[in-house]
Symmetry: C2
Subunit: 363 residues, 2 copies
């Protein structure tokens, strides 16, 4: 999508300021103070930090006239109420993950990740250049918000298990901390999904209240110390080939901004979006090595688990699509985009990476 | 690198404006008009377009006060003189590819691509979060410019050949349009590298003056129509696992900008940087399918070619490092970053992509 189309899709109708005289300048740079509630704790520095990065750019680029104060989860509202707080104008905006709101409507999943969805670059391409942003913002409009990409984790890990998983049979009856659509797919494989806050995972695994848990990837997982209580570390996180974070801005508030501030805000969000992925791409490599040194046992998900999960995910999408037209519209579009994207990806990108991975192993 | 460190690395010393009164506002938003010369023709809409995208963001975010006019290659100076024009202040900035200037110093290659270097995400991580931007801008400083990432093509294709290449033997004596460090690696495999402008490739292949030519990837290659005169389309472009484009800004001009404009410029460049890659990721999939329908024969480079090229590249880097300390510093850093990056990449990212590619093939 071109920038102009995006702004139109976001429903902005503020005319460009053409007068160049001083009063017009002053008008175009009013003092604006916003609050951004994050769904994340400060301990997730890479994810939480994106909001602060964005706010710093906005402040610098407007000479301090447009200031956005970022609050950690719980400071204004709990993390999972960030979208509601934005919708009802408690705050002007939030930094969150769309898929936290699948309880309202499973269509929210597409803003962040669906099992066996797009990888990080493909997601950005779908957002910007495919129908992604247009379809998503059509959907978010009924919640009174407009969404902009707010970072990405890249492909995540597949979680920590107390016992090895050698086939799909080993998943049956396992209590695993995994939420949303991913939890529903796991349930089709016999897993009993559990919802637990990040801080509750370690004691639950330690006591054996749960058998497995997924979190993010090496950099964030290491901080929770899960390798001490569940040593088998599975990959890939097929339910998050990437996870896109999101900025949601109250639609009326966005439309009421001067056009210059809208542009600054969009550019600052875009800069933080790329920055987060780069941070993960730089921080995960040392973290995975550190985890392995600490005793984590890396395991690839067995083929039958991957195949069964892929089939279960596709079945689930068809089931939801049959009763939810918004979900169907999104899924049909992602499915078509994914097929084309991977047809190309396997040619140059994948064979280059394939060679580089093997060259590295050979030393 | 954190934003603040980056600005410091770029040598900016403009203090933040603290006064909030009207005159200060006017001072902080002066009318600034810059020229940006592009190394690219408008026909490369995806690459050339990044400069215009960036300029549009800057204009909107400053209420039209800071305007950058973008010129295609040849309008002010020829494409390959963009850096010199920026250094000598003919223009304030340019949009170019660092590796065009390896004739001045092979160290310029690291700003864009080296054979068997980093993929697109790893490059961005090295730039922003590794030592990339710091090392590169230390190097560029002696040319009087500061560099910011200006887009990426992703992994490129390995070029068009009139005859099949079944082993490294088949490369001996081939005249191939390929430049820079990549050409030097190819020369070690027996290829005779040729330098030709984009528009001259088609007739040269048609007449048989050359046997092969590399350009970019499906979307750009299709426009040149090379499939009509050289049907074997090889992959991956192991000399460009990605190609980063670059903005070079005259260092004094950058430092003389108000701090607000510096921030806007950096954010706008960052937004265009991500946008270009998304455009390629969306445009290449239909283009490769269209090329195959038109008769292009996709071929993977034989293993012995890949292995010989990898060995030749490593030898070349050691040879250059022995006599060029700046190159050695950069290569040592990239080599270490690459090893860590692919160690992690092979775990979650690669196995996810691997499964998705195979799932797609199975339908």
């Amino acid at each position: 999508m071109k920038r102009r189309e995006f702004l139109t899709a976001a429903g902005t109708g503020v005319a460009a300021t053409t007068a160049l005289a001083m009063p017009a300048i002053a008008q175009s740079m009013p003092e604006v103070k916003w609050r951004c509630t994050s769904s994340f704790p400060k301990s997730l520095d890479t994810i939480y930090g994106a909001g602060e990065f964005m706010a710093e750019v906005v402040k610098e680029a407007t000479d301090g006239k447009f200031q956005i104060q970022v609050f950690a989860a719980g400071e204004i509202v709990p993390g999972l109420q960030a979208l509601d707080a934005t919708q009802n104008n408690t705050v002007e905006m939030c930094h969150s993950a769309s898929y936290y709101y699948v309880g309202k409507d499973p269509t929210f999943a597409f803003g962040t990740a669906i099992p066996f969805g797009l990888n990080a670059r493909q997601t950005q391409a779908w957002f910007e250049q495919g129908n992604g942003m247009k379809l998503l913002n059509d959907f978010y409009k009924s919640y009174g918000v407009v969404m902009m990409p707010g970072g990405n984790t890249g492909a995540q890990m597949g979680g920590w298990f107390r016992k090895e998983v050698k086939s799909v049979e080993d998943l049956k009856g396992l209590k695993m901390r995994i939420a949303g659509i991913a939890g529903q797919v796991m349930a089709k494989l016999g897993v009993v999904p559990q919802q637990l806050a990040g801080g509750d995972i370690y004691p639950a695994l330690e006591k054996g209240t749960i058998d497995a848990a997924e979190w993010v990837g090496p950099y964030d997982d290491e901080k929770l110390g899960l390798y001490k209580v569940a040593q088998y570390y599975y990959y890939p996180g097929w339910w998050e080939g990437c996870a896109a974070l999101n900025y949601f801005v109250n639609l009326e508030k966005f439309n009421s901004l001067p056009k210059t501030y809208q542009s600054v805000l969009l550019a600052a969000m875009a800069q933080s979006n790329t920055n987060m992925l780069a941070r993960y791409d730089a921080k995960n490599p040392p973290a995975i090595q550190s985890l392995v040194r600490s005793g984590a046992q890396l395991r690839r998900y067995p083929n039958d688990v991957m195949d069964a999960a892929y089939k279960a995910a596709t079945t689930l999408y068809d089931e939801i699509s049959a009763k939810n037209p918004a979900f169907k519209t999104m899924w049909d579009d992602v499915k078509a985009f994914r097929s084309n994207a991977y047809l190309w990806w396997q040619v140059a990108e994948f064979t280059f990476d394939d060679f580089m991975v093997r060259a590295r192993s050979r030393g």
